[in-house]
Each structure stands twice: as structure tokens, then as C-alpha cells.
């Protein structure tokens, strides 16, 4: 197979090369190519030639230079959405991806860094560095941002977006389609089902809402949209290409070149009219901070804001709800499948109460803990073996290791009998011992919660990140007060009693606090450069041709989940870029 080391541009917005090789449609893991074609049986002349452009940067010669109109750094939800939206446009796009098409441990280690703040995930597991980015392990759960997320909330410093929700609504609807939410409907009433009642809480202070929704069919952006991107004709996806630095021209106001390094040892560069950073909430900030040749503090960091305001939606148990009846039906609130959708409901304070009480957004999920006898029975090995054997028998198959499974059932006969009794007597509604109240909250923007460059170096000799994740007293107070109001409303409704599990010290956090892998806020968006890194069009202040995509531009974490908003903002940015490059 010949190796093509340089892609040229045909002048009509499409990449071309002097020769092409026929490979299987998904034979792209094979090394050393930048453009090739396959043949499909249909087409005007019986067989249609489809070209697709994928480059393996490791095979390019050292100091090789790629020229393009638009360079997108990162092929995750943001980068792929942008590329897909700009497919077929009369300009060239170079989509740089740190990894390949599959997971690669050595590339993944580039994401490593140091945690010095609140307990957080190891950074090399919090993001995925291969085509599709972190959508490759995304659970698909979505929740929308509300009107109030976009409005300034005087009690939350730095709150408010530079545009109202109506600006993003059209893109939001399209984002839902890209994510493949088959029924992007969020009103609680529209998910009612017979026999699954909402809790009868009246008075309007606490409401039941759909807090998470996913489609039964997960959207891994890499796999789902790979073909669309690489067949676009005007897009070259460059794999194993790690952007290491953005080089500024002599005016100090334009990115001239993106420096790229490969773990194979070679280094290349990409020259582009416009550069979009779409590498994730931590790596976006890191790249700006690392690009400090002309601007000592890093690009866009004239006001020391790059990397600050790091946020993640955090969760913790805020109390125990002891229902008045052990037969209380929680089916509406538990994760459930409704046709193609999977929905989970929770309890939230109304916007009016949040405003009156000066709180951040908190959603409370209800996690039942069943009677100890049934819990033990449901977790027993014997029951698991019985289920496995029944499943196999139903399919007409012989269970693997039949003897071992049979022994398990006999050994745990009591547990199996209890489970069978429970199933026969209660259906799936086992008696509830108590219900854990699990809160997920939107942290208030906190300038001390930040990503900086640490002393450790990665494989390229570049400084790794240091994450100092912090929360604010208003977050803790919001959790406690939300639990209190919930306790009052549940008591008022006669549903039971709540034991608050949040202490009075607003400066400390319990060990069960956990993030959600949402990296938000490190290049925040606002029209005032003193308060932000990018403007409302996601352009870095004072850098004419540098944009940022992804959740790092969110000024607040919001009450929704980030992926759908990332996609929506990327669609909006794509429209802006189209106007600029036409």
C-alpha cells in the first residue's frame, strides 16, 4: 500500500490526493494513509467512488505542515458536531484528534494531572482521548437548562449567560435530535404511566420533574458520525495528533499555527484561518495556558481567568426519607423505560422558592433501600444463579456450569425462597426500609476552583494540569435548605419524615461527595472581558481567529446536563463560522 504523506486541496473546498487506495470501509486502523476511497455498489455508473480523509499524524514527516481554513482541536461531542455541521461547506477543515479510533492507553495518559482540591476522579479517567472523545463512555443522560439558568441571579456571583434561553432554543431542539432523544419532552405530566403515581405534594414549593432522560440507543459520537465526517470531502480527520501549543502571529491578535506532537516522536503544525478549541473543559484551559510565548500568562488570560471557575455537577446524600407507608410507590421516580426512552424523576424546589431562599439548583433523587431481608435475598448468589438458569432455559439453552449454579441455589435456598415470596407477594415493590435522598446540585461559580499548570510534565515535556476543585458555602447551604424544605413538604403531605444529613459547617464537604465528569467553566463566556475568556460567540477576547467550543464556555453549570448544551452551542458556533468563512 502506498503511503500518501501530503493532502492537497482541490480549490473547491475538498481535499484531494494524487492516488488513493481501496480499503475496507472500516479499515482505517491500518497505518499510514491520509486519504483513500472505497467503492459502494450503487451510484450513477453502477459503482460510486466515495473518498474519505483520515490521516495518521504519526506517519507524517517531522515538521510537516498542513494548511487548512478551519482547524478544530478535539473530536469529541463539540468537535464532531462542528465538523459534521460544516461538512460540504466550501472550505477545508482539519479535525485534530489526540487518539485514534479506539482506546489507546499511552495516549490516554496524556490526560493525567494532579488533584489538589476536593476529592475528584483521577484526571486520566475523567476524559477519553480518542475519536468520539468522552462520549465513548457517556451514559447518554440528558436534562435541559431552564430559563432561569440564563438569567443573572443576584445571590449567585458571576451568574447569567450573555444571551437568553430563546437564543439557544432552536439549536437545543436540533441537539436533541443529534443526541437521538426520541422524545425530548420534559414536562413531568407527559411521562405519567398508570400505576406509577407522582407523590401528592401540593403547594407549589416542591415539584416533581424529569431530571434525566436518555434514549435507549446510546449515541457514541465517534461511531455514529465518523462516516459522515470523514466522507464529507472537505474534512480531514487527523488522528494521533496532539495539539501542544497555539502560536500567535506578530500582531499578538491572531493564531498563526497550531503546533502538534505525536507520541511517535514527530511534530507537525497546522496553519488555519480559524482555530476552534474543542478539547474538553480541562484541556481547553491547559492549551491556552501553555500557549504563552507571546502572552506570558497564556492566551485569553489577560485577566487571569483562564482555568478559573471550574465546576462539576456534584452529588451526595442529603438525608433519609422515612415514608409513612412501606408500600409507598416510587416507581415514577426510579429509572424506568418508557418505549425507547429511559427517564428518571426527582424533586426540585420551584424557581420562586430558590429565588426567595437564595439557593442554587438542587435536584433530589429518591433511592429506596429495601427491607434488609429482601435486600439480602436480592443480592444473593443463589438468586443470581437461578435467574441465569431461568434465562437460559427460556432461550432453550443449557446453562453454562449448571452444577455450580444449582449448588448456589441450594446453598442460598432461604434467600431464594424469600425473593420468590417477595416477588409473588409484592411484585417488584418490596417493602421499603427507608429512602436515601440523593441530591445533585449546580455549584455556584467559584473563582478559586481552578485548573492551573502543575510542575509535572507529560510525554511531550509539557506541564500537566493541576486541578483544585472547590465548592462554595452557598452550595452547602442550598443542599441543607433544600433538604429542610423537602422535609417540611413531605411532612405536610403526610408522606413521612426526613432526617437531614447535611451538617451546619458550610466550609467542609463529606466523603461521599462525587462529581459527574462534567468539566465546566474554565473559559467562561461573557461580553465583559473582565469577567470572561470568550465572548457570546465563543471567540477568545482579543484573539481574532480563536474560538472555544464545549462546556468550558458555560458561565454557570446550570440545572441541565452539559452534553446537549455542548452540542447546541457547537451548532450555533458552526453557523457563526460559516458566515466568517464564506
Amino acid at each position: 500500500m502506498s503511503v500518501i504523506l501530503r493532502a492537497t486541496h482541490a480549490g473547491d473546498g475538498r481535499w484531494k490526493s494524487d492516488n488513493s487506495v481501496s480499503l475496507p470501509r472500516h479499515g482505517v486502523q491500518r497505518p499510514a494513509f491520509d486519504q483513500f476511497s472505497d467503492e459502494t455498489p450503487s451510484g450513477e455508473h453502477g459503482r460510486q467512488r466515495r473518498s474519505y480523509v483520515l490521516m495518521d499524524a504519526r506517519q507524517l514527516p517531522n515538521n510537516h505542515r498542513l494548511e487548512t481554513d478551519l482547524c478544530i482541536i478535539g473530536a469529541g461531542a463539540a468537535g464532531i458536531t462542528l465538523a459534521r455541521e460544516l461538512a460540504g461547506q466550501p472550505f477545508r477543515i482539519c479535525l485534530l484528534e489526540s487518539g485514534g479510533l479506539e482506546f489507546d492507553g499511552e495516549t490516554q495518559r496524556l490526560a493525567d494531572g494532579e488533584n489538589i482540591g476536593l476529592s475528584y476522579f483521577p484526571l486520566h479517567v475523567a476524559r477519553l482521548r480518542y475519536f468520539g472523545g468522552t462520549t465513548n463512555h457517556w451514559g447518554g443522560m440528558c436534562a435541559p437548562f431552564g430559563e432561569s439558568d440564563f438569567e443573572p441571579r443576584p445571590w449567585i456571583p458571576y451568574s447569567g449567560w450573555p444571551f437568553p434561553k430563546s437564543t439557544i432554543d432552536p439549536y437545543y431542539a436540533r441537539a436533541a435530535s443529534l443526541i437521538s432523544l426520541s422524545r425530548p419532552e420534559w414536562r413531568a405530566a407527559s411521562w405519567n404511566e398508570p400505576g406509577k403515581p407522582q407523590l401528592p405534594i401540593t403547594g407549589g414549593r416542591v415539584a416533581t420533574e424529569i431530571v434525566l432522560q436518555a434514549d435507549g440507543k446510546l449515541r457514541r459520537f465517534g461511531r455514529t458520525y465518523r462516516d459522515e465526517v470523514i466522507h464529507a470531502g472537505n474534512i480531514a480527520a487527523v488522528l494521533y495528533a496532539n495539539a501542544t501549543r497555539l502560536e500567535i502571529d506578530e500582531t499578538g491578535r491572531r493564531v498563526r499555527r497550531v503546533r502538534v506532537a505525536c507520541l511517535a516522536g514527530n511534530r507537525i503544525s497546522v496553519t488555519a484561518k480559524i482555530v476552534i478549541l474543542a478539547a474538553g473543559g480541562i484541556e481547553n484551559a491547559r492549551l491556552l495556558l501553555l500557549s504563552n510565548e507571546k502572552h506570558a500568562a497564556g492566551l485569553g488570560n489577560q485577566n487571569d481567568l483562564v482555568g478559573r471557575f471550574f465546576m462539576d455537577h456534584a452529588s451526595l446524600d442529603v438525608g433519609i426519607f422515612q415514608p409513612a407507608s412501606s408500600n409507598l410507590s416510587l416507581d415514577y421516580y426510579l429509572k424506568r423505560r418508557v418505549k425507547h426512552s429511559i427517564v428518571t424523576a426527582g424533586l426540585l424546589l420551584s424557581p420562586e422558592v430558590r429565588q426567595q431562599e437564595r439557593l442554587v439548583n438542587v435536584a433530589v433523587g429518591l433511592n429506596p433501600v429495601y427491607d434488609e431481608t429482601y435486600t439480602r435475598a436480592l443480592r444473593s448468589t443463589g438468586l443470581a444463579s437461578l435467574r441465569y438458569m431461568v434465562k437460559k432455559f427460556r432461550k432453550g439453552d443449557a446453562p453454562h456450569e449448571f452444577g455450580r449454579h444449582l449448588r448456589n441455589v441450594v446453598t442460598d435456598l432461604e434467600e431464594v425462597a424469600v425473593a420468590a415470596y417477595g416477588r409473588a407477594w409484592y411484585g417488584r415493590r418490596y417493602p421499603i426500609d427507608h429512602i436515601k435522598l440523593r441530591a445533585t446540585f449546580e455549584p455556584a461559580p467559584n473563582s478559586e476552583s481552578r485548573v492551573t499548570l502543575g510542575p509535572e510534565l507529560d510525554q511531550f515535556g509539557q506541564r500537566r494540569v493541576r486541578l483544585d476543585w472547590r465548592l462554595s458555602p452557598i452550595d452547602k447551604r442550598s443542599l441543607r435548605r433544600t433538604a429542610e424544605i423537602l422535609a417540611i413538604e413531605l411532612g405536610r403531605a403526610g408522606l413521612g419524615r426526613v432526617q437531614i444529613g447535611v451538617d451546619d459547617d458550610d466550609t467542609t464537604w463529606p466523603a461521599d461527595l462525587v462529581g459527574a465528569f462534567h468539566h465546566i467553566g474554565t473559559t467562561r463566556m461573557n461580553d465583559d472581558p473582565k469577567q470572561s475568556v470568550v465572548d457570546k460567540n465563543c471567540r477568545v477576547h482579543d484573539i481574532e481567529n480563536l474560538f472555544v467550543a464545549g462546556s468550558s464556555v458555560f458561565p454557570t453549570a446550570g440545572s441541565g446536563t452539559p452534553t446537549m448544551m455542548i452540542v447546541a452551542l457547537s451548532l450555533r458556533l458552526a453557523d457563526h463560522v460559516k458566515r466568517l468563512l464564506r
Partner: protein, 146 residues
């Protein structure tokens, strides 16, 4: 940790029994006697509704410590019955007593008359009920208040 868990469960059981009696769930509540109780006081009748008398004291004592002006059963009885629209006396059937308490508790929550004890958010009436029962038992068993 074990003590903490035990304490939580005890407290929880108390509230469960208190809550259930108030909400009128008979299976977990001691059956009311078919004849008039020997000591026909509100405290003893209420005490009969609890399954975990020892646990009631946990709440009752804590309330009595914080509300020193309510440390006699007459005051507590009056305060508890004040929201029911009629005096709580021997004429009141157990079902009516429960209904009255249920209404009163929910009203407490609606009006914000609540207390937080060991983290549990309980209504003022619930706390007073426990205090009353505790007082009655203390006087019956000649045990001094802690």
C-alpha cells in the same frame, strides 16, 4: 459507628411508630383496649399508641430539655389539644384522636411549626406528644427526668 447506627435506627423506629399511629396505620400500633383504660389520662392513651416507649423518651427528653416552660403534662395536653378544635378527653375515640393528631401534625408542617432533633424534621405536636408520654411514664414509674 455501631452506636450511631443503633441510635439512628432507634430514633427512626420511634418516629415510624409515632408517625404511623398519627397516620392511623393500625398494624404497627398496639391495639387499643376494648374497655376504658385504668388511668384515663391522655398521656397513657397516647402512650398506648406507641410501640417503642423507650425510644419515645429520646425525643421526649430532648424536647423537655429545650422547652422548660412545658414540663408538666397539663400544659402539654392543653398545647396539643389547642389545635384540635375540642378538648382531648376520655370521650374522644381512638380513631378521632388519631385523626385529630394527623390533622394537627400536617398543620404544623404547613405553618412551619417544626423542630429538628437528631437531624429529623418533626412537627411541634409530634415532639410534644413524645414529651407528654415521657412525663406520664416518668411519673408512673417514679423515675426522675434525666
Amino acid at each position: 459507628l455501631t452506636e450511631a447506627v443503633t441510635a439512628r435506627r432507634t430514633f427512626l423506629t420511634t418516629l415510624l411508630s409515632a408517625g404511623l399511629c398519627i397516620l392511623g396505620k393500625p398494624p404497627l400500633v398496639r391495639a387499643s383496649p376494648s374497655h376504658a383504660p385504668q388511668h384515663n389520662t391522655l398521656g397513657l392513651r397516647l402512650a398506648d399508641l406507641f410501640t417503642q416507649r423507650a425510644s419515645v423518651e429520646v425525643i421526649g427528653l430532648e424536647y423537655l430539655r429545650s422547652a422548660r416552660q412545658e414540663q408538666d403534662s397539663t400544659t402539654l395536653s392543653n398545647l396539643i389539644s389547642s389545635g384540635c378544635g375540642h378538648a382531648l378527653g376520655p370521650h374522644l375515640a381512638d380513631a378521632d384522636l388519631r385523626e385529630c393528631m394527623r390533622r394537627r401534625v400536617r398543620q404544623d408542617f404547613a405553618e412551619g411549626h417544626i423542630l429538628t432533633m437528631h437531624g429529623w424534621v418533626v412537627s411541634l405536636t409530634e415532639a410534644r406528644l413524645c414529651a407528654l408520654v415521657t412525663l406520664v411514664f416518668t411519673s408512673t414509674t417514679q423515675r426522675p427526668l434525666a
